[in-house]
């Protein structure tokens, strides 16, 4: 089951392309997974037509949560907020290319939860945002 640590995951964990913060930004949201202390903040900038032009994540966490965040931000470049709102659990699992048990699934889905809470302009993020 070293599969969990496929090269793509280690690569995105060690050399993320979207790590950082954006100031100013159009959307920002942060949340944590209290179970393991993973913390992720995501900032997004939109162009005039409402498409994602830039995105960045910051915080700390395990390889799965950090790689998922990097892959997620890569995938939303040029997307509209409506398209972002449509994303779900399966999109993340497809990007990571692995199956995860219930505990690690929370790590993988944290960034999507944060991003969608920001896209919807919510006060607090809920797990229901990333359920299928």
């Amino acid at each position: 089951m070293d599969d969990l640590y496929r090269e793509v995951i280690i690569e995105h964990y060690k050399n993320p392309s979207y790590r950082g913060t954006l100031d100013p930004h159009d959307i920002t949201f942060e949340d944590e997974n209290p179970l393991c202390g993973d913390h992720i903040r995501i900032d997004v900038r939109l162009d005039e037509s409402g498409h994602v032009s830039e995105a960045a994540f910051s915080g700390h966490g395990c390889a799965i949560s950090q790689a998922a965040a990097d892959l997620l931000l890569e995938s939303i470049q040029g997307k509209t907020l409506d398209e972002v709102k449509q994303m779900n659990k399966q999109d993340i699992l497809d990007m990571l290319g692995i199956d995860l048990g219930p505990v690690r699934l929370k790590c993988a889905l944290l960034s999507l939860k944060v991003l969608k809470a920001g896209a919807y302009g919510l006060e607090t993020a809920s797990d229901s945002l990333v359920e299928e």
Binding site: M1, D2, Y5, K14, C36, G37, D38, H60, C62, R104
Partner: protein, 412 residues
Amino acid sequence: MSTHLPLDIDRVRADFPILLREVRPGVRLIYLDSTATSQKPIQVIDAMDTYYRHSNANIHRGVHTLAEEATAAYEAAREKIAHFIGAEKARQVIFTRNTTEAINLVANSWGRANLKDGDLVILTEIEHHSNLVPWHMLAGEKHLRLEFIPVGEDGLLDLKTYQDLLEQHPKLVSFTQMSNVLGTITPTQEIIRLAHQAGAVTVVDGAQSVPHFPVDVTDLDADFLAFSAHKMCGPTGIGILYGKEALLEAMPPFLGGGDMIRKVHLRSFTPNELPHKFEAGTPAIAEAVGFGAAVEYLQTIGMDCIAAHEHALTGYAIERLEEIPGIRVYGPEPAYKGGVVSFTMEGVHPHDVAQILDTHGIAIRAGHHCAMPLHEKLNLPATSRASFYLYNMKEEVDRLADAIYHVKQIFG
């Protein structure tokens, strides 16, 4: 420590059927997470099985044979546990769901009756959430003042600050006998002695200590002691609150319902006597039987013998881990700690360490171990934790070290 024979590890391991299990084909389980919950010997599993097959009934009311047997088995377990911790009388031993419920019982019953606006409660920085949150909740309601004995860089409690705090006349000192993260064994007898001099009542969280070394409430002069069966070879769902008789007698009931009453009228009730006053509703009877079998099992092996075995393993584990570049081990010198080794690995999140160790069949814990304030103090979001019990062996520590090298290899 008194003299003892070395633990017969092969014989002990043969008592734990789960240790034969493969986590995946060809990969045998190496269980290093006994601080979270221990594995169960066949003696405990059999005792509960026999109870359900032969004696299952509700207790304290029925007059039929099964009810008599069930009641006798439940009360015999209480006697065994009382003897195990050196309690003078079995009626001082209250069955609860776990350590958490035992501490909540003290907070809700003794705390509500005895603490008032502005009273000081002393806790420590190394507490598990179960010995923090009940006091937070009561402090909110009663406007209590909470102060904390700090933990030093050396992983030990700062007793000088404790003595300063005692001058502010605390009503209660509630603290752990052994940290579930650092492994620190606190100078419990001394903390209690000083608390009593200052006129405070003491609660000892024994969740990690009672399973691992001899604990005698009479020697300690503890007012309350809380612990759980599942961390000491017994089943989940049952724990103990020990209390001094006079304190327990004076306390109002905690939960209301059947068994905790002597008489009930439409508009009033009279509480039952100890220990039943605090045991509302049908208790965990089979679990009590299993708990009794667990303490019998531990006594047969010998608590001194178990403590010495774990001490040797812990020292060896620290030595093996500290020789790996990038590994940092937390907590005091082996002389001051129990069988808990928390560590971090440079550049790798504890969750990833635990996940890769699992591919080697090694079960460790990663996270904040229900001690978030301690991790804040250490300035760490999480740690990896390997913990040991009577059934662990040196070879398993070697496998742990090998697997950690594999983690390093994956993360390059």
